[in-house]
Amino acid sequence: MSFNTWLPVLVLCSSLIPGLVIFMLPERATTLRTTLNLGGALLKIVLLVLMMIGVFHGVDYEFRVPLVPGLDFVLHADALSLMFVNLSAVLWLATTFYAIGYLEDSPNRSRFFGYFSLCVTATVGLAMAGNLLTFLVFYEALTLTTYPLVVHRGTEVARKAGRTYLAYTLLGGVLLLTGTVWLYSLTGTLEFIDRGFVAQAGVDPAVLRMVFLLLILGVGVKAALLPLHAWLPQAMVAPAPVSALLHAVAVVKAGAFGIVRIVYDVFGIEFAASIGVTLPLAMLAAATIIYASLRALFQDDLKRRLAFSTVSQVSYITLGVAIAGPIATIGGLVHLVHQGFMKITLFFCAGNYAETLGVHKVSEMAGIGRRMPWTTAAFTVAALGMIGLPPTVGFISKWYLGLGALEVGQHWVVFVLAGSSLLNAAYFLPILRTAWFDAPPAEWPEERDYGGKETAWLLLLPPLATAAATLVWGLLASMPGTPLDWVQFIAARKYAP
């Protein structure tokens, strides 16, 4: 029972214990609650840095207890899980700052932050899952911990949105469970191994295709693949920090991460390509990209437009994963990180507009750049990143995706990328033009006075920080230490040398 065994559990506990304690705190204990939140977040980042150094030098961190006869509950930190855990931890820190500012004077903050911490615990556990069973456990736990956040406001609309959310995610969980049990009965193991474990079992490919379908549909609900994406726009009724967390970090990325794990560490990309499941997956991802972008074009509500944009962008990851080439893998995996940062910036800015000026729709955003220039600047950077323009990180992901597709001869993917960029430009550029260059209205719908400042500091700094990261990592992409660097380290191990 060494430190190496307990470090993954400690990382989990660094948000679990503060979460449980926060549930018990009375509403007025603001300082204590803030301290617990931020303390937990910072502790988690410290522990993760330790882990990263260890993994880079080849240390093995694993925690294993038996759960059901024949299978263990395994927490294992490898390079891929560390990438996702780091993303979650950093963005959790940013969202915590933001949520503290956003929910000032709102009721039920203890409950909110408690579930918030539990949600991050579930995400981190999912990232560090070492076999499909543990992954399933945390996948369902994620559904359960995010549900109270969606219905937080307590209105009838929130209840209905929560109902839809649950219907979809529970369905996904059930499909994943079926696929997992079936796979276990066929292969006798569920451990994640680089390049997959299914190939050795010698099972009939037709059966494996069915299993793959079940597994992908199961995680695809959270990853918002067509046609299981409809819960995402409806979950926008939740408060802005929840939307930011759900759409950049926790739920959607968990689904995409699940697809990554299934394709690379369960089936193995080369084996999956040989049984012919990667091409349909790529086509489904492409259809999602285009359909969601088209839907986004016609939305007036800002958060709904961003929701459809998320559906579209997360399928880039799926597309990168499904194209069986090392460079496309890099593109898909690095887009996981990049899209997280860009989308969270957009949602933070949308929350700022709603909170400061009561602006919820794109048609109300005329001239908002003059009233809130810093927020709109962050929004601009993130939006340009979504379109895929340099010097933002969006360009880097698109580059690798396109290059990877051309490398293996799948030319149609580049058309899909081009079409999607065109649609992204079509629904983001008008917002930017309206925000910066149109005349502002005489009066905003519900303006809050911040005493001459643009908005509260806690609301302003997180989007600026994430937008700055978007710019810096996009400009200096070839520097060691960027997400791109780490992803290249990961992707090399997924292919036979």
Binding site: L294, L297, S421
Partner: protein, 526 residues
């Protein structure tokens, strides 16, 4: 610190200072123009005085081949951009000028400088994107609403062109060198993509509709800067296709001839000077397209020619600020002469890669461009009152000087032969004659086909909306609502209750019990 990195960063820093400082220190609006002029002067100084240099930037973007290079092409580009921005800046300092904000102008300058110096696929792409969007920002900063149509058309073409450039640099990276023999250059498909991108963003007919529409609607500063997108497109394409596109020379000739003819026809039918200038710029762009397949030339003469042609065209909006007199006539004459000589050289340059019989067909394009420019100059009525005219008179010389420099450097560096000089007198004379002969009644809307294209794309968008939102989206939403209604739907509830009551009666229970007991016994016997 290497001066090359300062060139893109200085206007950015100045723009940031201008944007942030008014919150702390009130800054007079005209100061913005002086800042622009200062940055532009710095650009010109570096272009003129600094020795050829290269700054490698391996950490920037991908592939590690990004660099900032100051060679002859970059010099010409920097001089062009510097000159245009200097003029625009000085125009902005005039108090009655209701032009774009200095911040956007500085951002556009930064993008243009990056493009001028860029080397390596991704950095060139970044420069083209920055320059394009920067120019859009300059247009959008105009007062009123007249600029919207042109700006919308421009940005749509810009976005499509960006995608094509992206495809180009991706494909160029992928094609391994082992497949193509040395010196074979790029495959024809990539060259087509590159030139298509140039056509879409450079205002070359048939994608020229935004240019006259724009020029009619904007302030003098933006009108001067309108040569910048054409320049950016050309310089970017030159960097992406460093060996030119010799295999496509005939196609380019055909396209530029058609374009020049159309511009000529439409341009002569215009009412205002600015609209004619727009068509003149379109014809100039067609001329540059013609010259491109031959490559930049040994002394980078294509770059200097572009400098000359575009600077001359950019000087036309300033003519209206001068009152009639020798200064005005000198400026116009110098501009037209520079344009004509440069045009002729460009045609001769193009003839180098064309089959010998049709090489001469480049000359009409040059003549058409200069013709239109002359007509535009003649249609420019002076608007300036006598006292303000003095400073404007000198202002107009700024782009003219650059045009003359460009022509001079190109001609002196590599002598094309006297036949190339034929375009200038032919064009100017034809222009003067055409102006005299034109009837007053033939008028056409600037932007000709733009309205038709707009209507077609709007109906396409409507079809897409109906298909996606109204049909697919609604159908899917209805299916989902129907399925979810099972969650707390009441319709099946009454039927279930009826069944439940039946099942819970005593007779039913006794019957079941007997059945189960007998069945169990029977099955156990098996």
């Amino acid at each position: 610190m290497n001066l090359l990195i300062v060139l893109p960063l200085l206007p950015l820093a100045a723009a940031a200072w201008l944007a942030i400082s008014p919150r702390f220190v009130p800054v007079a609006p005209v100061a913005g123009g002086w800042v622009v002029a200062l940055c532009a002067t710095f650009t010109i100084a570096v272009a003129a005085l600094v020795a050829p240099d290269r700054l490698a930037l391996p950490v920037v973007f991908v592939q590690g081949n990004a660099a900032l290079v100051l060679d002859a092409t970059a010099r010409a580009a920097l001089l062009l951009f510097g000159g245009l921005w200097l003029t625009a800046g000085l125009l902005l300092t005039r108090a009655e000028n209701d032009g774009p904000g200095a911040v956007m102008v500085l951002l556009a300058l930064s993008g243009a400088n990056t493009l001028a110096l860029a080397h390596g696929g991704s950095l060139v792409y970044a420069g083209m994107v920055a320059a394009g969007y920067g120019f859009y920002g300059v247009i959008a900063g105009e007062q009123g609403d007249a600029w919207r149509r042109a700006a919308r058309a421009f940005v749509v073409l810009l976005v499509i062109s960006d995608l094509l450039v992206f495809e180009l640099i991706l494909s160029a990276t992928v094609k391994p060198a082992v497949i193509m023999p040395q010196g074979a250059g790029m495959p024809a498909s990539l060259l087509v993509i590159g030139l298509l991108a140039l056509v879409l963003r450079g205002g070359i007919p048939p994608a020229h509709g935004w240019l006259p529409t724009l020029l009619v609607a904007v302030s003098p500063a933006t009108a001067v800067l309108s040569a910048a997108p054409v320049a950016a497109a050309l310089f970017g394409t030159m960097k992406l296709l460093p060996d030119g596109a010799p295999v496509l020379a005939v196609g380019c000739l055909a396209l530029s001839l058609a374009g020049a003819a159309w511009s000529l026809f439409a341009g002569l039918c215009q009412a205002s000077a600015r609209a004619t200038l727009g068509y003149a710029l379109a014809a100039t762009a067609a001329l540059l397209l013609l010259a491109l397949p031959a490559g930049p030339g040994e002394a980078a003469q294509l770059a200097w020619l572009a400098l000359a042609l575009l600077a001359a065209a950019a000087s036309l909006p300033l003519v209206v600020l001068q009152c009639a007199g020798w200064k005005r006539d000198l400026a116009v004459a110098a501009a037209l002469l520079a344009h004509g000589l440069a045009g002729g050289y460009a045609a001769a340059h193009a003839a180098a890669v064309l089959p010998s019989g049709i090489g001469l067909l480049g000359l009409p394009v040059a003549v058409a461009a200069t013709l239109l420019l002359t007509v535009a100059a003649r249609r420019s009525r002076s608007l300036a009152p006598a006292d303000r005219a003095t400073e404007a008179a000198y202002l107009a010389f700024a782009p003219v000087i650059f045009a003359v420099v460009g022509t001079g450097v190109a001609w002196i560096a590599s002598w094309p032969g006297l036949s190339a000089a034929a375009a200038a007198p032919l064009g100017i004379t034809a222009g003067l004659v055409a102006y005299r002969l034109l009837p007053a009644s033939a008028r056409m809307e600037p932007g000709d086909l733009l309205r038709a294209v707009e209507r077609a794309s709007a109906s396409a968008l409507r079809v897409g909306r109906v298909l996606c939102v109204d049909w697919l989206g609604t159908a899917r939403d209805q299916l989902e609502a129907g399925l979810l209604a099972l969650w707390d739907g009441q319709r099946w509830s009454t039927r279930v209750r009826w069944l439940d009551l039946r099942l819970r009666a005593w007779p039913a229970t006794c019957l079941f019990m007997l059945t189960v007991a007998l069945l169990a016994a029977f099955l156990l016997l098996q």
